[in-house]
Symmetry: D3
Subunit: 304 residues, 6 copies
Amino acid sequence: MFKHVDYLQFQAKPEKPDALLAAKMQELVGGQFGEMTVMMQYLWQGWSCRVPGKYKDMIMDIATEEIGHVEMLTTMLARLLEGAPSVATEKAAAANPLLAAVLGGQSPQHAIVSGGSALPRDSQGVPWNAGYIAASGNLLTDFRSNVAAEAQSRLMTSRVYNMTDDRGVKDMLQFNLARDTYHQQQWLLGIENLIADGLVEDEIEGSNRGDEKEFARRTFYSFDPESTAGEGRWAQGQSLLGEQLEYVPDAQPLTDDKPLGPAPDPKLYVTYDGSMGKGKPGTGAGAHAQGLANVVNKVKGALD
Amino acid sequence: MFKHVDYLQFQAKPEKPDALLAAKMQELVGGQFGEMTVMMQYLWQGWSCRVPGKYKDMIMDIATEEIGHVEMLTTMLARLLEGAPSVATEKAAAANPLLAAVLGGQSPQHAIVSGGSALPRDSQGVPWNAGYIAASGNLLTDFRSNVAAEAQSRLMTSRVYNMTDDRGVKDMLQFNLARDTYHQQQWLLGIENLIADGLVEDEIEGSNRGDEKEFARRTFYSFDPESTAGEGRWAQGQSLLGEQLEYVPDAQPLTDDKPLGPAPDPKLYVTYDGSMGKGKPGTGAGAHAQGLANVVNKVKGALD
Amino acid sequence: MFKHVDYLQFQAKPEKPDALLAAKMQELVGGQFGEMTVMMQYLWQGWSCRVPGKYKDMIMDIATEEIGHVEMLTTMLARLLEGAPSVATEKAAAANPLLAAVLGGQSPQHAIVSGGSALPRDSQGVPWNAGYIAASGNLLTDFRSNVAAEAQSRLMTSRVYNMTDDRGVKDMLQFNLARDTYHQQQWLLGIENLIADGLVEDEIEGSNRGDEKEFARRTFYSFDPESTAGEGRWAQGQSLLGEQLEYVPDAQPLTDDKPLGPAPDPKLYVTYDGSMGKGKPGTGAGAHAQGLANVVNKVKGALD
Amino acid sequence: MFKHVDYLQFQAKPEKPDALLAAKMQELVGGQFGEMTVMMQYLWQGWSCRVPGKYKDMIMDIATEEIGHVEMLTTMLARLLEGAPSVATEKAAAANPLLAAVLGGQSPQHAIVSGGSALPRDSQGVPWNAGYIAASGNLLTDFRSNVAAEAQSRLMTSRVYNMTDDRGVKDMLQFNLARDTYHQQQWLLGIENLIADGLVEDEIEGSNRGDEKEFARRTFYSFDPESTAGEGRWAQGQSLLGEQLEYVPDAQPLTDDKPLGPAPDPKLYVTYDGSMGKGKPGTGAGAHAQGLANVVNKVKGALD
Amino acid sequence: MFKHVDYLQFQAKPEKPDALLAAKMQELVGGQFGEMTVMMQYLWQGWSCRVPGKYKDMIMDIATEEIGHVEMLTTMLARLLEGAPSVATEKAAAANPLLAAVLGGQSPQHAIVSGGSALPRDSQGVPWNAGYIAASGNLLTDFRSNVAAEAQSRLMTSRVYNMTDDRGVKDMLQFNLARDTYHQQQWLLGIENLIADGLVEDEIEGSNRGDEKEFARRTFYSFDPESTAGEGRWAQGQSLLGEQLEYVPDAQPLTDDKPLGPAPDPKLYVTYDGSMGKGKPGTGAGAHAQGLANVVNKVKGALD
Amino acid sequence: MFKHVDYLQFQAKPEKPDALLAAKMQELVGGQFGEMTVMMQYLWQGWSCRVPGKYKDMIMDIATEEIGHVEMLTTMLARLLEGAPSVATEKAAAANPLLAAVLGGQSPQHAIVSGGSALPRDSQGVPWNAGYIAASGNLLTDFRSNVAAEAQSRLMTSRVYNMTDDRGVKDMLQFNLARDTYHQQQWLLGIENLIADGLVEDEIEGSNRGDEKEFARRTFYSFDPESTAGEGRWAQGQSLLGEQLEYVPDAQPLTDDKPLGPAPDPKLYVTYDGSMGKGKPGTGAGAHAQGLANVVNKVKGALD
């Protein structure tokens, strides 16, 4: 369950309105790596977490903080949008035509749709969607996603930070940059802690490790005859699993299998020249006939 | 420019058709962390890379390999779909009703849309979209995203691996698991190499580092009175930047600023009780009046 | 079946072209609450309606009218786009640089994609999608959605109306505003009629009313210690069902149940510390073993 | 700012796992009218609200409650997914083939993507997106959207309620049904309160009321010669604005304007027969030449 | 303006309900090439058409017919969904467990969302979106898109036709197949007519024909050393423009230009090793400094 | 498997940066008919192709070329974006205010998200998605889609070509225009070849031809009393199947069937007046009871 406190975590007071900056800052709200993404990603990971105690609590704490970050940003945007155009553009241009210059960059939806408030969309108006977030239940894997999300988010914030001289906006972004810095570390230190607690087997995701083709997990294949990729650390020395890395220039296919499907079912009207024999007409039953043949017998036994 | 070689990188030969498994394996093709995602993410990062030589070559090499991985998977799926239902379901069920059990789990689009081939969609039929990929131009940040993508991708592959006993499918997935293992390392070693080459300032994204609110980059704020998050590594000891980490239980707002926008423009018909004074009517010009006031004068000078 | 009449329902004659306004008016065409939305929402509700006679006829009538409203708007936009930029921007700016000011706000797709015509997209270029519409078969519920759609649509239209001085555009929007006014009433009167005809049990959606937790349907829970929400009508007096409304300040959990999933299946590689016992390995069968256990016996009987 | 309490608002304890029900209940989590929608819609409306005091507090209170409802549902789904299939389907079917019957209806992403947890998606696997929510700043309009959202949400919940016999699931849904009942009322009573407080001019959205075409706001147009829509309340008696409603059977166009764009710009290669004269070549400048002609002169004056 | 006639164009009477078939037939309603697509594509092309007379009338006629085809399909689906599951699955399975077999393949949204009616979605539940349709204003180009849409649509219909034995469903699909046949021809004959009327210059889209690189419009480049593509008609004989087709096996780059961006702006924090010189700091002005340099002077003159 | 060659297929060297043009050219990269679409469409068709030899090789050759076209465009855009705004907009406008004019039209994501590189999005910022591509396995049908895609793509390229005077950009687009010309022909000649090779039965998609309603495949129905569509070639003379085309003005319904679903299941709470009798309560079993009745008996026999 959640509670709300009627103050912002950190102040969001621009010096003056700036509708063009508000349009750009939408990327920090509803973009692929905006605050909505980390808020929802951490909420979802927290709700999916199966390790009670410090891990689950840590994830829920940061998730709860991030709801407040979206709140800070939406407040900032509403203030930046104060007095944004609501009447005929021509009149505005006539009164001060140079200002018309930036009219184009504003989001028309800030007036038409939200009435001078932030939108749950990115800087190009694309609605936020849950295809941006990751929550697999595997903490090592998800913490990797979180480090990446904080890094991408901080980079975007830093780029936007350079796009304004407004001291109030910069003040809030200085807080946000710092939180992104801390949160990057939080997840990296979280990985350190997972290892120390013995909750992961390798430092990298390695389920079904024993079944891997061993030759393929320590080899760099190059697909360009002029590639210089062999000079990198990834192509020489020891792998993280302690194996010798190998570099294969001008890689060749490891098989003579060609990418071709089987003869198609005639009832699907797939173009076909008969060169692979007659297509097998699917029957629904046929789809699984081979794989489930023995099931029938077992069922008979079970029910008899 | 690219070339095509008419063999698969690794063989894709299932023992027998299995339309239900094909539906599940769509997640590995067109899911958020499927092969289409890494193919497109690496192509895009390679095309955006501004460090010629081993880094750009390495990214293009793996991108090129991943196109071939989508090829392997689409070939595998076409073969798994051999003989999948193309006629009336009832007839199929009548011939072998137990097999009807799995009819529901098949993708109807495998027959209706693609004629027995793979789809550029996930296991639930959602089309792949470019909102899944990241390419910021900043290699440290993007390599973090790549580690995460490979980890999530490997985890999904590993879960699917457990869902079949088909030796041909498992054989190919053993190759894919190994490549995911190698690729996870490749990006981690790439980060190691970026640091060694002096191409990043911190081990984490830290642009505009000097402008951050220092107190906020080393502090864990907890928002649940019963939280045990203070027990974690992220809340004690030194940060990655060598600062002392701090734990703040039951965090309070750092400001008395409340989340409230300014008095709204009357022409936007936002509900308002007048309690914050009269709303400022936006005029288009007004939106930027304060910020651009001095521009007018400078332009006058420039053009005179 | 439908017919077409080769005249607009109402005229769509702008005084002069205005490509910037055309970009904004896309919101009224293909936005979340644009005319495409009400056209499709009403068509779908009409086709889903199970009450023959005046209700179904009324819905189909308004749906048919709305197709014509999209037609009016697309005609208006084609005319507003007359002579919009099709040659090099620099030349245009050189010929009359002040006009370049609004170039930025135009939709590049109006030239590149549609050749000077309207697009089935919103003012930011996002394609219309069917996730905007509602059609549940329950007329009370859907009429509520329709009142809301007309209200949001009218508000957007009204905001756009203030953004132009073009008498021709305003003339058409005066008609559209009036239709939105009428249509809001139409759905509210429709609800009145449903009640009078005895087609709904309560004035609000109340299926399975008898199974509700009674205490929870008349209670306002507040989650902010400083909330003043208790002053509102929703927290005092009688509910619409004739019960006494209750206000609960600083609401507490109603359970000691914590948000934590069960011990995870080891084969899913979810991070887990063993604190909740051993995870149950899923087997497909296992998933439903408890719930369907008795089915097996009944089947045996049925088939024997 | 937000806080988290480590208990659910109401308990979420199913009697037994049921992966098929979990797939269906995704609609209540991430569907168009699921809990994510109301959570985000209310958060966004609260952050956009310009009426401090009881209205803003009320919206934030319910928004905060709804975050907790998503938490309850995700907890319920994780528990329903306990032991869902993670190994080869055939083995499962062999052990108990009848149970295979429901395998098809499960979400493959519940195992492959989320590791036995809920997904931020609907029952068909479509990711939640912000195109589902409305926040216009106009409380009357948004409260209408909220009544509709609660009604649609309750109807879906009620339908799902009938699809299970699990007493634990039903127990929680009885609470959810009641909250949806209360919340429907809350928004209707909120509208009542807005009127009482004089914050809206009409009972329906009526901005720019004076500019409407008066004849069109009290008229039902019918477009089907056999329509019986004239029998409804919406076609007779007084409108909500106190005007006489009019019914127009077999409506005719109100203009002789035909839906046809102007002669196209030749540089856009739109097919054209010359019948409307020569197309006007757009020049960027040309696009706004007529509307902005006087601006040039005013600017000259302003800068001279 | 449009009218509605209260009969279907062709009857939609299934012999019996079949919820599984209804789920599949959603592809014909709201899939990429379903009836919603052709309905919207033709409406949009009609509204964009600049050739009054037979062409515009023809497009509007077929668009109007297609609205009625969606109506036929939604009616059919509502009837196929009669009596689809609305109560607990287990009870259903207990009553007749074999029938549970197909439960998985049903759309849960047919009950939960639409109450036994069709959905504006495809067979996997993905909402229809306007990214499926094309309307460029160029009739030759759009008629090509229309031929393709009718061919894909007919193929899907034909595949679904084979999936049922229901005489009523087949009866309607026999009508739909015939209309798709006619409509394919309609667009091909439309192209024939465009040529006869002199409304297109080439038989293929050829705007700016004179500016093309001539060598590249008659050449097949092969990128696989083992490719046999040179055997096809596209690689030998005359092109449609009367030029000699050329086949280039094992194609090589036509330039020594490498895919590398310029030295990046330091303020964007793109990883860079300095090897291409110092990055140019962007300034907003700088972005267009070269291209617009002369504009300044011209403006000065114009305004003085 | 694929290989990469470290040169572009054709040079991508603009004379000077132009961030506004870069924003527009995104349509050619990630728009509905941009290069990403043809790249992915042909890759998918190649992987789905069941005719080994020249057809499959031809499709894979063009698919491989198109990957290189995306590479050319992304390189061009990175160069056009050199020095695009990365600092405060006001400063830029102050330094050269006229240049501010085009600021609005730039993509903010080119700086914030991609750091001066191309994006996998269209000119309005909408991410590319796989709903744009077609691959049915039927070559005639897919080649039709390909002709259309090349025609739409060429038309967009031609429109953008007119929007710049940059000789370097025009040089590359002259190559692209020529390739689009060739590729349109390639697919048309491919259709010619399919016919010559006897791989299609009709010149149009005609599966299940014998089952069509014959009267409906040669008839133009008009739905507007004033329509002049009867004057077109599609309404007179012989059809492509050698039948006499027929024109039906003012078409009437071919049935007295009305678009109305059956009496609804009471448990779905669909509004209903009882006029069609009592709704049938769905039971899961009931849904298929009629169609699968005989299955039970057959299964009994099979298992006994």
